[in-house]
Symmetry: C2
Subunit: 180 residues, 2 copies
């Protein structure tokens, strides 16, 4: 995994992929699968919606740290499986054969097998809606990985895989943020 | 367009498609293209992030109504074009040959050419983050439309088209919301 400039981090989440969110509660690592995420700016600002029913919620809101990891299509059963069990009684890194890699800024681990990872700090919470506002502090991308197609949850048990890519850079030139 | 049960409306946004947001300020219709959206629950709760730099913002926050319309891949240049001009000096329905259809609950129009439309009310705003919280009040889906592939903005001028669909319903059975 090589470092990705932070001003490009939003391009990892903007297409709306399934995301694995790692936390560390001071004793153990955990992972949750989430698709309720949103980009909020060009400076690595993100939101996600979750709540206390999720075991990761306590670690996320108490440590105020997490890593957003982007799995690819070959990791679909891992992503679904992570969502179907709880960190309360399961070591998800062990169960799904994932490799926890130490980050540089937060205690939550990166996932080596993922296409991309973003170390994040919780900068705000909007409790009445379960919105957690995150600021990315470092981003990583595995450009050597062959499989780069990500997954989009429909929410009914179906997942849409990335297809063709269409380039409209020229048409959008005057509105694209600099350096992206 | 046929009516889609409201408890399925989140499946239109959960995959993270490019969205056209229509408003009506009491005098005229307008459209903006947005990709900063998030599903917030199984009961047609959504968020989007925007701000006063966007001409639609005033109509959206003053009327507290909008329609979320989902364009398909054949509408890419329309979706990009809508994002590159302003409702301040442009009738976007006329410019892009789109048909405004009257909704049942809000003054903002549906877009006939889109795959799906969700009539929404603004139920809250989180001003410090530019987050607008929406509640869907009616949803429509054009199941007769041949082209159903939606678009996912990368944010750098590229757009990912929906590819293959993978079914993990059986694996997710115990966590899927009822009736979806």
């Amino acid at each position: 995994m090589e470092t990705l400039p932070l001003n490009k981090a939003f391009t990892l989440l903007e297409p709306g992929p399934v995301v694995l969110v790692t936390t560390n509660d001071g004793e153990k690592n955990n992972i949750m699968t989430i698709t309720w995420t949103m980009v909020m700016g060009f400076s690595a600002e993100f939101a996600l919606t979750t709540g206390p029913w999720n075991y990761s919620y306590t670690a996320l809101t108490e440590t105020k740290e997490c890593v957003l990891s982007i799995p690819t299509v070959d990791m679909l059963d891992t992503a679904v499986g992570i969502g179907m069990c709880s960190g309360e009684d399961t070591d998800k890194f062990e169960k799904f054969g994932l490799t926890a890699v130490e980050g540089s800024h937060v205690q939550a681990p990166l996932i080596e097998e993922c296409l991309a990872n973003i170390e994040c700090r919780v900068v705000d919470t909007v409790d009445r809606h379960g919105i957690i506002v995150l600021e990315g502090v470092a981003a990583y991308y595995d450009s050597k990985r062959k499989e780069k197609r990500t997954l989009h949850a429909v929410g009914d048990g179906n997942f849409v895989v990335d297809g063709e890519i269409l380039d409209r850079k020229e048409m959008m030139l005057e509105k694209l943020p600099p350096g992206v």
